[in-house]
């Protein structure tokens, strides 16, 4: 290289510094500052808040809605992990192993909701759940189960479970494709060997496919957990705004309400710290639980 040392440093700085400054200002600084804000009582009206130490955290522990929001978040995590993993594993196996000739059609269709806006998905499903016009109630009436019809999103018992279906509907495609990628890397010889040994297709699934795509399953589960804890509030905000009577509030939507509707910015930041800590703990625990010897045949 003919360039001088100074010139190459200059080039390096040109590549890295402007980007890092923007990243630091708009991502790192707000995150760190969020921790700091949680120690203040701040309505946003004055330029500085009042330092209150850990008062916001005390309030967090005595707030009766907080345990409910945590519970709702983990309910969505568990329901989504179960729903998405069962369906996407089934579809992935069906589309790769069963030699279905129209498989590309299903692959393309199933993936599409993944790139739809959460707003569109939320509004569409709000209408599907509409008590008078919606597909769910009309469908139930059609098959003669009129006593099962209810105002799904308006019911304190049913609103939260009703949010699971749109999330699963919107999520399946991506995880199906990730698992399909794993399955297509499995050598055909394993299945041939299993067949010679007389293993049924069901046994092949449990003894060959599942252990060999475990890495993809693990990544999918972690990804569902992270995206749910960090993003479930978006569908909540669009479909129910946390109601009726706080029965669908998750941590993020409660943060939004406290900070940007009620202007308790300090307390909102405290909820944000809680979200950060809980999602980190959950990811670490899940990684530990799903630790499993890498399978090689």
């Amino acid at each position: 290289m003919v360039q001088s040392k100074k010139q190459s440093y200059l080039f390096l700085a040109f590549c890295l510094v402007p980007t890092f400054i923007l990243f630091a200002v708009f991502t790192l600084y707000p995150l760190v500052n969020g921790l700091y804000y949680s120690l203040f009582e701040w309505s946003g009206a004055s330029s500085v808040g009042e330092f209150v130490g850990f008062d916001n955290y005390k309030r967090l522990f005595s707030d009766e809605i907080i345990p409910r929001t945590i519970l709702h978040d983990y309910f969505l995590v568990v329901a989504k992990v179960i729903g998405i993993m069962i369906l996407s594993t089934f579809f992935a196996v069906a589309l790769t192993q069963m030699r279905i000739k129209e498989a590309p059609f299903y692959r393309i269709i199933f993936f599409f909701p993944n790139i739809m806006s959460v707003v569109v998905i939320g509004i569409l499903w709000t209408f599907i759940y509409n008590p008078n016009l919606g597909l769910v109630n009309s469908g139930l009436e059609f098959i003669g189960l009129e006593e099962w019809t209810k105002p799904w999103l308006g019911s304190e018992t049913w609103a939260l479970p009703s949010l699971v279906l749109p999330s699963v509907w919107a999520g399946i495609g991506l995880f199906m494709l990730m698992l399909m990628g794993g399955i297509s890397n499995i050598s055909k010889s394993y299945y041939e060997a299993a067949e010679i040994d007389g293993a049924t297709e069901w046994q092949q699934f449990w003894k060959v496919t599942l252990p060999l795509i475990w890495p993809q399953i693990k990544i999918s589960i972690l990804y569902i957990i992270i995206t749910t804890l960090n993003g479930s509030f978006i569908i909540v905000q669009v479909m129910t705004r946390g109601g009726p009577n706080n029965s669908t509030h998750v941590m993020g939507s409660y943060l939004y309400e406290q900070a940007f509707v009620k202007y308790n910015f300090g307390y909102g930041a405290t909820i944000g710290v809680m979200i950060l800590i809980l999602s980190l703990i959950t990811v670490v625990i899940m990684q530990f639980m799903m630790r499993r010897e890498k399978v090689e045949y």
Partner: protein, 278 residues
């Protein structure tokens, strides 16, 4: 044996067909609803429209300011995507090709930002934008969007640039090309595939984004499409103008359908790779 295979394949098809219907039916029905009059939606919410009329689109476009929000969304999407590239390409090149102290650390910082819940940062960001006079400003939103997609873009671009043979850069350097020239005239054109993938993913992301827009935009003339639709949806509870709502949903979804139809493979690849990094 063969017969059993055929049988099990048919049994497997049932859930596949059902799920395909579950995905397609609401979408098709939403598109049909956009062409129905309100009376028709009430009389027969799940049937075909009698005549295709575009009145709902006209209403949404002019009475509900969808025209302004489409324009805002286009600006935010285009500007955000360009800005992301301007930030991500040089940094990706340096992280991938130049050895310097702290290279691994910097890469790790960028990548781990993908896993951190950004909700916590949104409160300080709100005040930061306020101080910079970028609150309730679509250009401010474009900057925030661009930075938010930076980690993902760097992740995809570095792995893409790693596949470009080093000999090309070396040859260009021997010919006396400056590192800036190498980056601009050799690396950037050779990374086109990666750049397109990243840009499509980012554009879909920005076009669809809702929550940051909800927090950082306030006045109606700055609403992006996602906010405008949400606004119409809330109005619909009182006005019951379902047709207008569906028309605006269709306006929001058509560009995504078009991109998906053209770039299906790239989008799928971009999404699965983006997820696997986790």
């Amino acid at each position: 044996m063969k017969q059993r295979r055929w049988l099990s394949r048919s049994v497997v098809r049932i859930p596949l067909v059902l799920w395909a219907l579950a995905v397609l039916y609401p979408i098709i029905w939403m598109i049909l609803g956009a062409f129905k009059s309100n009376a028709e939606i009430y009389a027969n919410p799940w049937g075909l429209p009698e005549v295709f009329n575009f009145q709902n689109f006209a209403d949404a476009w002019s009475n509900y300011n969808i025209d302004i929000s489409v324009f805002n969304s286009l600006i935010v999407t285009g500007l955000g995507a360009l800005l992301t590239l301007a930030m991500a390409i040089p940094t990706s090149y340096a992280l991938e090709r130049i050895r310097f102290r702290g290279n691994r650390l910097l890469f790790t910082i960028y990548i781990s930002a993908m896993m951190i819940p950004m909700v916590l940062g949104w409160i300080p960001l709100f005040f930061l934008l306020m101080q910079l006079n970028l609150l309730d400003n679509i250009f401010g939103l474009a900057i925030v969007y661009a930075v938010s997609q930076l980690p993902f873009s760097i992740f995809v671009l570095t792995s893409f640039m790693a596949t470009i043979p080093k000999s090309l850069e070396e040859a260009a350097a021997i010919d006396g090309m400056s590192p800036y020239g190498i980056l601009w005239k050799i690396i950037t054109p050779l990374s086109t595939t990666g750049i397109i993938t990243v840009t499509i993913m980012n554009m879909i992301q920005f076009w669809n984004e809702y929550f940051m827009a909800l927090i950082f935009l306030q006045s109606e003339e700055n609403y992006t499409l996602a906010l405008a639709i949400d606004y119409i949806s809330n109005e619909t509870q009182y006005t019951n103008a379902w047709g207008t709502l569906f028309a605006s949903l269709v306006i929001a979804i058509v560009p995504v359908i078009v991109l998906y139809a053209i770039f299906q493979r790239r989008i799928v690849k971009g999404m699965t790779e983006g997820a696997i990094k986790g």
